[in-house]
């Protein structure tokens, strides 16, 4: 028997990409092994367990609330006919463009004791003081869970809706023939079949929730993310901060591992072509009203109300807040987001294709380690990125000083937009990889074989066969990364060079001083710039389905 350990050039590229993407994390983990007993022990004995509990509750809560919103919505839109369905189908994705900390701010204002809702209630019932009635406090862990879920549920909605549309109606018809109700069929047929997609969507949502900083900080909910921040910038212990980050990474890998384990027996490479015509259920009467109402409620809370309030701020505070610099910030945000989306998609294509070509049991490792950055909060990521980049800068400058061929470039890597690009790519690569992986999975391996049998190289197969078949998936991957980049905040705050401001950092300066009204224009711009890509994502998905 002849054992071969040779790696193709595709695998070499994939491993190189995966290792490079995980380099900042490797530095962080290395840092976490440095001794820092005192600070970490102190945190361990005092607050670390509370932080961990809050983090886990936050993740579970966001996943649960997102499921309660996204699964019924996905099912309604995929299988039912009801008034307004055509519009809801795409509109329900809009909250994705809304940064969580902005709706957190808006709803705090709305539901505060002095906010319009409580003022109205008091005038209605004649209450005078806060002691006379109970009203929920939005600045709490449950409040944070709802805010984050309201803007993250579209990930699950999008993935679940697509999965349902790819399931053949015949299965539901069979269930109906056996006398089962729609609800029974939903739980016994649709949900189990879409389980992989649901778990994938929930994994994305959980990682986003774990990484959230601005919302939980604003709501004074202490999580591991805020603990890392405190430890680094309060106790001045990078090592203890790195240790906490390592705990977060552990939670992440356990979550992802559980997801992989639960899908270990699924071997669905290709799907039969599905010919679904029309809706399965046509809702009438109460059911129709209820469905439309539910869609409107979610859309209203996650998008319409915040946008209307932002718009009214923008008009009301026009004179104090209008600056011509908006266009510069918008241009800088757009450039950054475009470069990052392009990089993420390109790397994703190489890594996933190499994974497809390989039959090694380790083939998925480059993609996995490359995706780990997604769970890291931007603040931690900023440290993690600076660690190797400043090292690199030192080498380059040292080399320049000693060689005399060229003058020392200064902080070319860590002090320019380069550091931001690296941080964003490390953070958002996971989104691109997931989407591209799903896209590749739909293409039958027999096409690869046919192509190879006609003498095409692997590169030609990718270019001529795969790319045309999956260009919508690629577009979706790029656009989702783009939207996340527009919203990203903590890494940008710490890594941006002189004269570089993104819309998000501009908005946050005012939000952190509780003056969102003065930055309402920029906040609206973030949302508007995110909307266009969302429209493309949705229409590309629609076309993908109609082509199948």
């Amino acid at each position: 028997m002849h054992l071969r350990f040779s790696l193709s050039k595709w695998q070499v590229c994939a491993w190189a990409a995966g290792l490079l993407l995980s380099l900042p994390l490797a530095f962080l983990i290395f840092e976490s092994f440095q001794p820092s007993a005192e600070v970490f022990d102190h945190l361990w004995q005092t607050v670390l367990w509370d932080y961990t509990a809050n983090t886990i509750l936050l993740i579970i809560g966001v996943a649960l609330v997102s499921s309660l919103i996204a699964l019924p919505l996905g099912w309604l839109v995929a299988y039912c006919d009801f008034p307004g369905k055509k519009h809801f189908e795409w509109a329900l994705m809009l909250p994705l463009a809304m940064p969580a900390y902005i709706i957190a701010y808006i709803y705090t204002d709305l539901f505060d004791f002095a906010g319009p809702v409580q003022v109205w209630l008091r005038s209605l019932f004649g209450w005078q003081s806060a002691g006379e009635y109970w009203f929920f406090d939005i600045r709490t862990l449950p409040g944070a869970i709802i805010m984050i879920a309201l803007v993250l549920y579209p990930y699950l909605y999008l993935i679940f809706k697509t999965a349902l549309k790819e399931q053949s109606h015949k299965l539901i018809h069979a269930s109906q023939l056996m006398g089962h109700s729609a609800v029974f069929s939903f739980f016994k047929v649709s949900l189990p079949l879409a389980r992989g997609s649901i778990v994938a969507g929930l994994a994305l949502i959980s990682m986003e929730a774990m990484a959230d900083f601005a919302t939980v900080h604003y709501f004074a909910v202490s999580t591991l993310t805020t603990a890392v921040y405190d430890t680094w910038l309060g106790y001045y212990s990078l090592t203890a901060a790195a240790k906490i980050s390592a705990v977060m990474l552990l939670i992440l890998f356990l979550t992802l591992g559980a997801e992989r384990f639960s899908r270990r027996n699924q071997h669905v490479f290709e799907r039969q072509s599905v010919h679904n015509h029309g809706a399965l259920y046509t809702l009438k009467g109460v059911k129709a009203y209820f469905s439309t109402g539910f869609c409107l409620l979610v859309l209203g809370l996650g998008f319409i109300i915040p946008v209307v309030i932002l718009f009214s701020y923008a008009v009301q505070y026009f004179e104090q807040s209008w600056q011509s610099d908006f266009f510069i910030y918008a241009w800088q945000s757009l450039t950054l987001a475009s470069i990052v989306s392009f990089c993420c998609v390109l790397i994703g294509l190489f890594v996933v294709y190499a994974q497809r070509l390989s039959d090694s049991p380790f083939k998925t490792i480059p993609g996995r380690i490359g995706s780990a950055g997604y769970a890291l909060p931007g603040t931690v990521l900023a440290i993690a990125v600076l660690l190797p980049l400043t090292r690199l800068d030192e080498w380059v400058n040292h080399f320049a000083d000693s060689s005399q061929w060229f003058s020392a470039p200064g902080l070319f890597f860590s002090g320019t937009i380069f550091a931001l690009i690296v941080a964003y790519v490390v953070r958002f690569y996971a989104i691109a990889q997931g989407t591209i992986e799903a896209s590749f999975a739909r293409i039958s391996p027999s096409l690869d074989m046919a192509s190879a049998s006609m003498g095409r190289t692997k590169g030609q197969t990718l270019r001529l066969i795969h790319l045309p078949l999956m260009h919508r998936g690629i577009l979706t991957a790029g656009l989702l990364v783009f939207i996340e980049c527009m919203k990203e905040l903590p890494a940008a705050l710490l890594l941006r060079p002189f004269d570089f401001e993104t819309l998000a950092t501009h908005v946050y300066q005012y939000v952190s001083d509780e003056h969102l009204e003065l930055a309402a224009f920029s906040a609206l711009l973030i949302v508007l710039v995110g909307l266009l890509p969302l429209y493309f994502v949705n229409s590309s998905m629609e076309r993908t389905q109609s082509h199948e």
């Binding site: 607050v47 509370d50 004791f113 600045r139 680094w232 902080l411």
Partner: protein, 334 residues
């Protein structure tokens, strides 16, 4: 078109401005506090300023950047940050007779490594209708059981609160301060949250009767038509007037050891300690100028003179790490 795009991209990657007529600033202070003063500086000297604003993380960034840092000066919003910068070994003494003449020696380091620019007092706001003015209030009283459920504050880990707790440790020791902190926590009307303005708003709304806050926010709120009703609902009290005086903190400035624009950086620091900027700090930001003889804003003056805690800030700041540890031990924010 292609060239233009290339030029724009190149500008994104340019390392930093090393031009002779520039000062690069890392600022912990917020843009709207600093920008008017920087604009005035540019108008007077022709020297451009470039700023990175961030509320935290800048020291860590300077440490990583080391000798390649583009920062010429760092503006800090509290005293502890000034000390951290001083200890980073990345700063150089500010050698200027003008600065020495402008700033009293208690408000600059002996070795010149930091210079304070403004003072602010940590006040207690009280509800006009439910409590009234409290001229004899002491910080120690905030732990008194009579205020159970009546106190509001921002996060215990905010530098302003850590400074106050450090001063309590300096005066009373760690054990007594911990007991005091537990009492303060037990008196809270709600979990620590929001900023200093939000606490005053909470008094107006009736959620609490007392709140900790910095003095200049009071002036800022009075000047904002929307927030004036909040400020109108409270008295501003200077604590411990019968004994050691109110706790004060300072904002300040340091100069990077590796500045490539030293002359300009020095000009900026001199400008910030001199009459024009000190006046602006007083009138626009409602802060207490460090330069003697610079008048307070009319509004700030109307709050009356008060006694400041005379314990040196360096002495207070020693206890900041212990203050942070105590915050975690009593789970103040949880």
């Amino acid at each position: 078109m292609k060239l233009k795009a290339m030029a724009l991209l190149a500008s994104l990657f340019s390392v930093s401005s090393l031009a002779a007529d520039v000062v690069n600033i890392y600022s912990f202070r917020q843009p709207f506090l600093i920008e008017p003063i920087l604009e005035e500086f540019t108008a007077q000297t022709g020297i451009q300023t470039k700023v990175v604003f961030a509320k935290s993380g800048l020291i860590e960034r300077i440490k990583r950047e080391g000798k390649h840092t583009p920062a010429d000066v760092v503006l800090s919003s509290d005293f502890n940050t000034l000390l951290q910068l001083q200890e980073s070994d990345l700063m150089q003494p500010i050698e200027s007779e003008l600065v020495k003449a402008n700033v009293p020696s208690t408000f600059r380091a002996d070795d010149g490594l930091w210079v304070a620019l403004t003072k602010r007092a940590r006040n207690v706001y009280s509800s006009k209708t439910r409590i009234g003015a409290m001229p004899t209030l002491r910080y120690e009283d905030l732990a008194d059981i009579q205020f159970k459920g009546k106190l509001c504050t921002r996060s215990g880990k905010h530098p302003y609160n850590l400074g106050l707790v450090a001063s309590m440790i300096a005066h009373h020791g760690e054990a007594e301060t911990k007991k005091w902190l537990e009492g303060v926590k037990a008196n809270l009307a709600r979990k620590p949250q929001g900023n200093d303005r939000a606490q005053v708003k909470a008094i107006k709304e009736g959620l609490c009767d007392l709140a900790l806050g910095n003095s200049y926010y009071f002036g800022k709120m009075i000047m904002d038509p929307e927030q004036k009703p909040w400020a109108d609902a409270v008295h501003i009290n200077f604590p411990n007037q019968q004994d050691r005086g109110a706790h004060i903190n300072v904002s300040g400035v340091v100069m990077s050891k590796f500045t490539k624009n030293k002359a300009n950086a020095l000009k900026l620091i001199e400008f910030m300690t001199d009459n024009k900027a000190q006046n602006m700090y007083a009138s626009l930001n409602m802060e207490y100028p460090v330069k003697a003889g610079v008048p307070l804003s009319e509004l700030v003056a109307s709050w009356g003179e008060f006694k400041e805690d005379s314990l040196p800030l360096t002495e207070v700041s020693k206890y900041r790490p212990v203050a942070l540890k105590l915050m975690d031990e009593v789970k103040f924010d949880l």
